[in-house]
Amino acid sequence: MEGSEEIVKKLRELLQQSEKRIREIPQEQLYVAVAVLIATFLFFLLIRLFKRTKSNTIILAGLSGSGKTLLFYQLRDGSSHQGTVTSMDPNEGTFVLHSESAKVGKIKPVHVIDVPGHSRLRTKLDEYLPQAAGLVFVVDALDFLPNCRGAAEYLYDILTKGSVVEKKIPVLILCNKTDKVTAHTKEFIRKQLEKELDKLRTSRTALSEADITNEFTLGVAGEPFSFPQCHNKVTVAESSGLTGEISHLEQFIREYVRP
């Protein structure tokens, strides 16, 4: 008790001293100091707000060989150039979509990132996800069945990532290479993926107690999984990178990155 009283006493002394000092300082200086403090605070607040609202990043993800890089260049240059090979580094660019190139200057450019699909390079996705306004998961519709499991596993990882679920990043499942006659339809691919994800859900939850990469479980327990169950919006569309038929993709981008 005595100790606490002493402390209170000392505190009071300190308070008096500081009051004295503040009075000694000219009033103008005090105001300026406070103003600067508030200004910097507001400045940082503004920057944060600015950044949040202005996210214009679209990520292209998917298995290796599904055609992400080609889509990236279709979006940027409207041309498939001379073809592509397996990417070793992400392609990144901020540009006005090629189809809207007449409106350069009036329109907000889009920041598009093409993340390599090779499993060893997938970790790069985590770096970009926090700033994403939308994610495009590219699926090879031509060679779908042999890669179905791999694609489903990748998609599962994406859909259960904390940053995707919390920020409700919209996902577009883009069935690429539909210009080929033998390509599967988007309905078929959607059903297959749902089926695979459902299976994955049971096997992953069996060991998920330890699995730190999957922070969230997918869908509603006890029901067969379907995409509408996701917290974020998942849509399916078709495209063809080779022939430049990418209207669905552009639509998706413009939906989430307002011009």
Partner: protein, 819 residues
Amino acid sequence: MVNSWHSKASDRALDGQKTGTFNTATIDIESDYFCATGINVEEVEVIGKSYSMFSLSSREKKDANAVQGEVQSFSKVLIFILTSRSNVSYHDRKLAGLYPLNAFEVTRLLKALGAPRYAKIYWAEGPPFGGQEALIPLTREFPHLYNKEDIAFPGELETFGNIASLMEALDNIVFESNDVFMPSHGGNMGHAIQVFNFLCGMLEQLLIFTRGGLILWTCKELGNALKGSPIDTLIRSCLLEERSGDASYNYDAPGAAYTLKWTFHNELGLIFVAVYQRILHLLYVDDLLDMVKREFSMVYDPKRTIYYNDFDDAFRQLQKEAEARVEDLKKSNKQVLRPGSNNNVQSKKLAVLRSDGQKSNGSVKGGGDKDSSKGRKLENGGVNYVNGDTKKNKENGGSDASGAFDVNKLQKLRTKGGKKTDNNTVANKAAPKVETKKKITKKNRVWDEKPLDPKLDFTDPVEERGDEHVEAVAVNHGESMMDKEEVFSSDSESEEDEEEAGEGNKGGAKKKGWFSSMFQSIAGKTNLEKTDLEPALKALKDRLMTKNVAEEIAEKLCESVAANLVGKKLGSFTRISSTVQTAMEEALVRILTPKRSIDVLRDVHVAKEQGKPYVVVFVGVNGVGKSTNLAKVAYWLRQHDVSVMMAACDTFRSGAVEQLRTHARRLQIPIFEKGYEKDPAVVAKEAIQEATRIGSDVVIVDTAGRMQDNEPLMRALSKLIYLNSPDLVLFVGEALVGNDAVDQLSKFNQKLADLATSPNPRLIDGILLTKFDTIDDKVGAALSMVYISGAPVMFVGCGQRYPDLVKLNVKTIVRTLLK
């Protein structure tokens, strides 16, 4: 056409030839010069080169092009019939259609190729099997058929005896002036054509693309459609696997065997790849790639991804230049030879000369700077047989070459010595750190552990007596650690010491003043050179080696990191050592991240749906803990409601079956056993049948430990795997192993591939790393094993209890490796 040839062989040259060293044959026909320089294949293999190096000069320049053009069009088609020095087995050769053709088939082939009736055909074999009649189908359609005996004067060939390389030289001559060649299988004529393509062969394709994967330029003139997807395969299985330091990559696909060479331009993020047929050993590719890189980087503009059509002309120029260099090589041969051959010209005779030191010098230097070390070796070889004639020359050459050799050796010794001392210093520095760390981990392990239930202690004598008591209890030992988050002590370790160590190593190499280095770090250095990286890389390599990474692998990794960094710009306020460090960290994470899913449970469920058991085979050398960790895996699987069955296929070591039986009883898992002295492959087969019958989801097969060199046992293993085609071949390796890890895994894989009867052999799918709790921070074995086999580490055994099985934590491993 060769009408007549006279020969005069120098006795001394033959002497040189007989001792199996360097030999040169100059053959002078009419007014044309031909020269073939050959090294006996045995000699080359001693030197350790993968191919024999030949060179031959063409005719006088004016008609050389014509002849070559003519010849090439045919030899290009015929080339795939030749298999000289190829590593193709007889069986593969047959499958690929590389089978000796009979006269009828040859006729058909030639007709299909559109050879005209007047085509000159040279038969590089001796008398055909079945006599001249056997050739009738061919001679009827193509009357101009010759072989050596037909062309030579009686007795003329005797001068050459049965010396293969001289015969080869003769073949070379005829080869150049004929339309069609009937080469012997893998024989001298094969060599001859190999030589020809070595010098005149064509690239299949040359590509320039960005690291992002966009093709910027391809050579349209070459325009050959590549079979399969060699480029993608190269990127996926070589460049992304941190093997960029390798010299070349071999791509195999049905109907295609390519060799790919590449070079990086790291500052611009460009990759240049040249593709050519495997059997052509193109000399100029490295040069060409370098030149293309230099030229292209000048026109390249990162903002411009649209066609680089204008580069076509530049490329044409460069290719000519590169080929001219090869031409130079021929010329340098000729120049040196001319005085020698002039002596014989009056009589227009075929002369066989030996080469002297000077000449080998010249010819080898023409071959390109990269071959200079090889060249030196050749010089030495060349010097050995130089004799008589020009004594002065010999002495000069001899002393020169030996001098060079000594210097080489000395340098090697010096670098080795340097390495060693460096090692020591690093080890010394690392030692105290290691000790402090040891304490921490030990403590931590104790905290991590759950209080043990005394009943679980099986060494208790009371329980040894009555097994029945144990059974029910043993089923639950708590959660397997596979399902728990890993807690590692190393996270909190400060990185101070490491920085200091790096600095200390760097100190010696850095001779520039403090101020200039300061300025550099602020301004950012222009471009990284290989020499800038070396000290940092060396320190890094040593650090990796102290962490028990096999030397070979540490070396390769550093080379690959260097290849990815050279030419890059150093950012401001960064040091080389930290740049290298981050590059290495990325590389390590890439390597250790599994390529394929390692979700065993998922695979088990898939197999379950298909109504067959999931078969896992444990393989490995003796005493690494196969059975123990098999029990741990079984325990983990059981925890996830998967019904497991063990198969005791170690029918070799006494006590192995009993050991497994004990585990099985404690875990209450059915076991399939057939005692000893049985064929393990059959036991495994029966076990799988039994599992299918009783409806087990997983069959875990225990095999006998075997050393990687034990041929009979490896054969038995191969049979087991072939017969049962398991879903997962798990290699069990102990984390204690150092350099031997490479040997073990590569030999296991090699033997499994070699001894397999099917064309698609099963290799090791995954790795189980045992005794991980005994190694502190020396986690290098994990890296070595993954790098050498490409298989992921699927489980890590880290203790004596059943739950002590964890997943590999890539981040922790990488952090530990680089500390």
